[in-house]
């Protein structure tokens, strides 16, 4: 049985649902040394700001149980170098580039979006809403539905109609559904979730914070249940809005979990640090997992966890490694 893995995000149809997560896969060339980046559904770039950014001082990374805490400060080349060096490379490889954009003001986001509008090879734009808003005492845009919606509106206005705009949300809010609804109302074609969770590590030998930036963003399998919860809640509230699920995905079954919760596509982040060929492996594993469960189309599995037990699924015997389809099948 061949599995139809196509994933739809607004106007964009991806051949498969696996992407890299912004800032976790380099600019493309790094992972391109280990596998063909065009094999992925999409390649998500690090967050691009109008100007180059040097990032934060070292130490920038700390290992935590099943997680990584980072404070890299969105080091990046800025939009000019990105457009002349990184984006053309992805285009040459035949990769579908989803460009993550960052800024400290609405104008920053609008500027980057406008520059991208004329560039070839942009499959989608993803807004990193976890940046500090200088106009609001450095509070991140994602923290407030109105601020997040304003960014989405500005980026949507500067992006071509056929290019979907995804709003990447933070789970560090009281009501992620409220922010998601505000972004969707403002014109977001899809939602990416979740960004890293705010965390901190104190070194018990030096008796000081482990990161130079003191606090950082927590990622990795440690945060996966939070991601699954957010995707589930938002899909329940906005079933028609496609979601890119991310947060601690390490295996094909992890990816499937997010799909069942409501994600139309899945991004692989911290796993790339641990295993540079993780995303292509996860793609293979996801396809096998779907086949084992008798699911012929990925789209059929999206949000399945919301439906009553027994819907659309051929049960597999957990003891059988390769799932032969069984007779017990109930269609909706």
């Amino acid at each position: 049985m061949s599995v139809d893995l196509r994933a739809r995000l607004g106007h964009a149809v991806l051949p498969n649902p696996i992407m890299t997560a912004a800032g976790c896969g380099g600019a493309g060339r790094e992972l391109g040394r280990f596998f063909d980046v065009a094999k992925l559904g999409a390649f998500v770039t690090p967050s691009i700001a109008p100007e180059p950014r040097a990032g934060r001082p070292a130490p920038r990374l700390a290992e935590t149980p099943s997680g990584v805490l980072n404070s890299t400060g969105l080091q990046g080349p800025g939009i000019d170098v990105f457009l002349t060096r990184d984006l053309p490379w992805l285009d040459q490889q035949g990769a579908r580039a989803v460009v993550s954009i960052a800024g400290n003001s609405i104008e920053d986001y609008a500027e980057v979006a406008a520059r991208l509008a004329d560039a070839p090879g942009v499959t989608a734009v993803e807004i990193n809403t976890a940046c500090p808003n200088v106009g609001d005492r450095g509070l991140m845009f994602a923290a407030h539905p109105m601020a997040a919606a304003e960014v989405v509106r500005a980026v949507r206005a500067h992006t071509r109609r056929g290019v979907p705009v995804l709003a990447k949300l933070s789970a560090d809010v009281t009501d992620v559904v409220g922010v998601a609804m505000a972004c969707a109302d403002a014109g977001a074609d899809g939602l990416s979730m979740i960004n890293t969770l705010h965390g901190m590590v104190v070194d018990t030998t030096t008796l000081r914070p482990r990161l130079a930036g003191v606090t950082g963003g927590l990622s990795g399998p440690a945060i996966r249940p939070v991601a699954v919860r957010c995707v589930y809640q938002v899909h329940a509230a906005l079933p028609e809005v496609p979601i890119v699920g991310m947060g601690g995905v390490r295996t094909g079954l992890d990816a499937l979990e997010l799909v069942l919760a409501g994600a139309s596509a899945v991004a692989v982040g911290t796993a790339n640090i641990h295993d540079p060929s993780a995303s292509v492996r996860i793609l293979r594993e996801l396809e096998t997992a779907l086949r084992e469960r008798g699911i012929a189309r990925l789209a059929d599995a999206v949000g399945l966890a919301h439906k009553p037990a027994g819907t659309l699924i051929r049960r597999i015997d957990p003891n059988v490694g390769v799932g032969e389809p069984t007779e017990q099948e109930t269609l909706q």
Binding site: G25, E30, L31, A54, G55, S66, P221, I273, P276
Partner: protein, 289 residues
């Protein structure tokens, strides 16, 4: 970037303990044949379901063509990850990515080279010495460490080098003091044309200054902690002056680990220099906030 690295399941061949160090030989086909001196490998630790997500990076001390290609690394147990490595047994499988990073540039002419290494970082110098020998260069070793236990490969250096001098901080082997204190005399007596060095940042900074004083290049391999080894995580950024004269925060694992010593802004390591490309705007000189 040079030839593409590979990611292979490495098979543990031998694991020996010598002094403070563990020496591990892995069968890692594809890594050994691509390897050039100065490059490193990144190992995943803790097995497939590991809770330790960062890779551990090690310089390669030796490669051999046996069994389809073996690599030898040297490490000391400093945490859970290296503890896991030290407890492995022959035939255990370890995920290896490599060879990674920019190798040592090699001289075109048969010149005299000083190879200065401190503690386990000296490992990177041994494959370099072998290649220099093939090019009729004269490698002269300077090895250092905290104590005699901490000096790596003094015996091997006698075979591989034209001369070996050792210094330990506690004076238990060779002369007492920092190994870089021996550098000026060696440069003068041997008539050295280039210095290769590998060790802690303080040592590399001093080596760079001394080499500059004699007007000879210093090629240094930096041990800045790396977390992925492949260039995706941005943990190992170092302030380095580029060909354009501007300071860039560059990744040790991709643009390094070998740098020309005078290009690294040693005094600013651990900071974002105010004049670095993309440094926070409010701190940049001559610009109103």
């Amino acid at each position: 970037m040079t030839d593409s690295p590979v990611q292979v399941p490495g098979t543990l061949l031998t694991l020996r303990r010598a002094g403070a160090y563990h020496t591990m030989t892995l069968v890692a086909p594809g890594v050994a044949e691509r390897f050039r001196p100065g490059q490193f490998v990144a190992l995943a630790v803790g097995g497939e379901q590991s809770s330790m997500l960062l890779r551990r990076c090690f310089f390669v001390r030796e490669v051999k063509p046996d069994y389809g290609g073996t690599i030898e690394i040297v490490f000391s147990v400093r945490g859970k990850g290296t503890g896991w490595l030290a407890a492995l047994r022959p035939r255990d499988i370890i995920d290896v990515a490599g060879p990674l990073g920019r190798p040592f540039p090699l001289p075109r002419d048969p010149v005299t080279c000083v190879l200065l290494g401190v503690a386990h970082a000296s490992a990177a110098l041994f494959p370099l010495a072998a290649v220099l020998r093939q090019r009729d260069c004269r490698p002269c070793f300077l090895l250092g460490g905290a104590g005699s236990d901490d000096v790596l490969g003094a015996r091997g250096a006698r075979r591989a080098g034209d001369s070996v001098a050792v210094a330990t901080r506690d004076g238990s082997l060779g002369s007492a003091g920092q190994v870089e204190d021996l550098l000026p005399e060696l440069i003068e007596t041997a008539g050295a044309d280039v210095v290769y060095a590998c060790g802690p940042l303080d040592t590399l900074r001093t080596v760079t200054r001394i080499a500059a004083g004699y007007g000879i290049p210093a090629q240094v391999a930096v041990e800045e902690p790396m977390a992925c080894g492949t260039g995706v995580c941005m943990a190992c950024a170092l302030p380095v002056v580029g060909d354009d004269g501007a300071t860039h925060m560059v990744r040790t694992c991709v643009e390094g680990p070998v740098f020309r010593g005078e290009r690294v802004r040693w005094d600013d390591v651990g900071t974002i220099p105010f004049d670095a490309l993309g440094a926070p705007r409010a701190l940049r000189l001559g610009e109103r906030p």
